[in-house]
């Protein structure tokens, strides 16, 4: 019956030794509706979800914890096993890791039924096919006999959901079930979850992404540092948030926010972007017909684009679309098979390394994982001194003034000078990477997924920083990301990559409002939006 409470938690706390990971959280998951637990890493949302399966690994206490009519506080490990899969089940995050590559997926799904031992073999097989049909797996009989490695990404994802559904559970938990997926697969999983809800099951969705849960959740609980700071009906939370932290999270969602409008309240307000001097119309960076193949596989085919001075070109595409190979060719780290790269009107690639070395100072790079790009022996000050001295010195004291300026420019505290980057948070590391790239005063920055590893609120502050630097220094950005909403916020122009080709490019507003290509339309339709 819809609306019936399937899971009720009252003042649930989970602790690991003396560390309290979850503190007095209360919520209800109802049949036919979806509750979303939203929070950033370390907020305790996954631990909360796992404690509903008896898998938290810590000590759970509560005034009341009822799971599908049973008092979960007094359950033995045996009774938990009865509940897992048949009353409550969980969709796992990574399909490639979660499915055994050596066994047919039909058997993997059947195992879930076997554990509960209710059905004879023939019926079990029937049930497997039935479940696969219910998740719209094409040719379910054939797919059930194949191994996960023989299936496409989408089919694997369907198999994973089928596995969670095999025992016909009343409640399905989706813990960051879409996080590592590209847009098409994300859309698929979201559609599946919606269907589960319509079938009258309770769905508990765990996510760090408010925009993503916006369309599915009936209720939202926002978690921070183990506590629920705000909970209520989704429309209420999204439309009229009461808690400061909820507002901060909502504000951090970049899609639909115009360029240079800060995403974080903490960011310094920006001076109006320089609209003047239309004189240097020439481009800062241009690529003409770049191509690269690895063996028979064409990673990039004839990619051409231009980054105007002081502007941002966003390149968006799913994993494997050739974005990173393009970036590497632009940076002169990989020679193109064909085509050229020009930086400030001069030939940059292909070229001999000694000839373009001087030109390299005009182009910096920011990576997804900045830590890997730092020499592990260097402190923050040494890294910056090394960059400023062109590798001749790493004594921060000699470059005191410019090092201080760089740190101030990226809003890092001077107290961090002697720290090793390992001791910094993800956001601080990325700021340091930006500071280092800015040291030679480059004209162009190539940013390859610069905020993909960061939590939403941190991502917002780093994007604001990049905006400010562009306004202040006029640096051009080549901004590469799989995240459409980040690209929409950051780019003046956008290029969409698909299977190694740029299939569409133009002004961002135009491409996002009226996409011409089928693939772009598909991408955009899968994009979660708040505004």
């Amino acid at each position: 019956m819809n609306g019936q409470a399937l899971i009720t938690a009252r003042n649930l706390s989970v602790s690991f030794g003396s560390t309290v990971a979850v503190k007095n959280v209360s919520f209800t998951v109802r049949a036919g509706s979806c509750l979303a637990l939203v929070g950033e890493s370390g907020s305790g949302k996954s631990v909360t979800a796992r404690s509903l399966l008896g898998l938290s690994g810590g000590t759970a206490t509560a005034d009341a914890l009822e799971v599908c009519g049973q008092d979960a506080l007094s359950l033995s490990e045996r009774s938990w096993q009865q509940i897992r899969g048949s009353s409550v089940s969980m969709i796992l995050q990574d399909a490639l890791m979660a499915l055994d590559p050596l066994r047919p997926v039909g058997r993997e799904i059947g195992d879930a039924l076997k554990a509960h031992g209710k059905l004879p073999r023939a019926e079990r097989q029937q049930r497997v096919i039935q479940v696969l049909e219910s998740v719209r797996m094409p040719e379910p009989e054939r797919r059930a006999r194949q191994r996960s490695t023989e299936l496409s990404g989408g089919m694997r994802q369907r198999a994973l959901i089928a596995q969670a559904l095999a025992g016909n559970p009343q409640v399905v938990i989706a813990d960051e079930a879409t996080t590592a997926l590209d847009s098409a697969l994300t859309a698929l999983v979201l559609a599946q979850l919606r269907e589960l809800k319509e079938q009258g099951r309770g769905v508990l969705m765990i996510s760090h992404d408010l925009a993503q849960v916006a369309h599915l959740a009936d209720d939202i609980a926002v978690m921070r540092q183990g506590e629920i700071v705000e909970a209520g009906v989704a429309a209420q939370i999204l439309g009229n948030p009461q808690h400061e932290y909820t507002r901060q999270l909502l504000r951090a969602v970049p899609s639909g926010v115009p360029r240079f409008v800060p995403l974080s309240a903490a960011s310094r307000p920006l001076a109006a972007p320089m609209q003047k001097d239309p004189a240097p119309a020439s481009s800062a960076l241009s690529a003409n017909g770049l191509s690269k193949s690895f063996g028979k596989h064409a990673a990039v085919e004839s990619a051409s684009f231009e980054v105007p001075r002081g502007k941002t070109l966003g390149i968006v595409g799913e994993s494997g679309s050739g974005k990173t190979t393009t970036a590497r060719m632009v940076l002169g780290l990989q020679p193109p098979d064909a085509g050229t790269v020009e930086l400030l009107g001069e030939r940059f690639a292909p070229a001999h390394e000694p000839q373009r070395r001087k030109l390299r100072e005009q182009m910096g790079a920011i990576y997804q994982n900045p830590l890997g790009s730092f020499d592990p022996r260097y402190s923050v000050g040494q890294l910056l001194a090394d960059a400023l001295s062109r590798g001749k010195s790493k004594r921060a004291a000699e470059y005191r003034v410019p090092v201080t300026e760089l740190l101030e420019q990226v809003e890092l505290s001077l107290g961090l000078l002697d720290r090793n980057p390992r001791e910094l948070s993800g956001g601080q590391r990325q700021r340091l990477a930006i500071a280092r790239a800015l040291a030679p005063k480059p004209s162009v920055l190539v940013l390859d997924e610069p905020v993909s590893a960061l939590d939403a609120s941190i991502q917002a502050t780093v994007l604001d920083l990049l905006d400010r630097i562009q306004v202040e220094t006029g640096t051009s950005y080549l901004f590469i990301s799989h995240d459409l909403s980040v690209i929409e916020h950051m780019s003046d122009n956008v290029a969409v990559m698909h299977q190694g080709k740029i299939i569409e490019q133009g002004a961002t507003a135009q491409v996002f409002a009226a996409p011409q290509q089928e693939y772009t339309k598909l991408l955009l339709s899968a994009m979660p939006r708040l505004r």
Partner: protein, 265 residues
């Protein structure tokens, strides 16, 4: 490394440096002075570690023997590591075919037991301190070389070096500032471990009569000399043996501590 481990390591190295460089401070006597009247004296107040068949003081000989034993250990490790760095670096940075050739040669060398190879080398050169160093050094080189090679290979394609390239650093600066220091750091622990091992091998060669010739006070040679009188004068073998154990174990412990540090960073 913890503070205590650091202090202990430094004390250990200082002690052996003193013993090797200025043995007379701790043992003023002459290690070669023969006194048949005092042969086979048990350890006591006049002779701490007793005397040998010619009445030479074992304590004085153990202390004075440290220089040769440690010198062989250090020199052999330096030789092995130096060779390994050259071979490993060349293999890691050269085109595939040359890399393959160097690798096959290293594997072939690796397949021969080290001591056997040392014996082979001495068969050509004849016994002595120099040949012992060369023998031990050469036989440890292949193991180190493979390590250096994989270390440099990993670093070569690391984001760190790419970032340096993008910043406009030339080959020389990349190698000097990033590649070499980062490749050598984990080797430091290995070198310390290797010194302990090399001291044992040097002693083993001398024990077999292939290293330092008698009557020079070398631990392995002393061990060998004492073997004949083991039933009569156990102290002749025990104390040089303990010295070997002490040095090798100490070097190994320091190496382990350094290695543990390298792993966590």
């Amino acid at each position: 490394m913890s503070r205590t481990a650091k202090i202990l390591s430094i004390a250990f190295i200082a002690l052996w440096a003193l013993i090797a460089l200025a043995p007379s401070v701790l043992a003023p006597g002459d290690p070669l002075a023969v006194n048949p009247a005092e042969a086979f004296q048990a350890p006591g107040t006049t002779h701490f570690f007793g005397t040998d068949e010619s009445g030479r003081d074992i304590y004085t000989r153990v202390i004075h023997g440290a220089r040769d034993s440690l010198a062989i250990g250090l020199a052999a490790t330096a030789l092995g590591m130096g060779l390994a760095i050259v071979l490993g670096t060349v293999a890691a940075l050269s085109p595939r075919w040359l890399d393959e050739i160097i690798l096959r040669v290293l594997e072939a060398l690796y397949a021969i037991p080290s001591l056997l190879m040392a014996l082979l080398i001495i068969a050509f050169t004849g016994p002595g301190v120099g040949p012992a160093i060369v023998a031990v050094g050469l036989s440890t080189a292949p193991g180190y070389a493979r390590l250096v090679r994989s270390q440099i290979r990993t670093l070569k394609s690391s984001e760190m070096l790419e970032a340096a390239t993008v910043l406009g650093r030339g080959t020389w600066l990349r190698v000097r500032n990033h590649l070499v220091p980062n490749a050598l750091k984990p080797l430091l622990a290995l070198v310390t471990l290797g010194i302990g091992q090399a001291v044992i091998w040097a002693a083993a060669l001398s024990f077999l009569g292939l290293g330092t010739p008698p009557p020079a006070p070398e631990w392995g040679a002393m061990l060998s000399a004492g073997r004949t009188y083991l039933h009569l004068a156990w102290w002749m073998s025990l104390f040089p043996g303990l010295a070997i154990v002490f040095v090798a174990a100490g070097a190994t412990l320091i190496g382990r501590a350094l290695g543990g540090k390298a792993r966590t960073t």
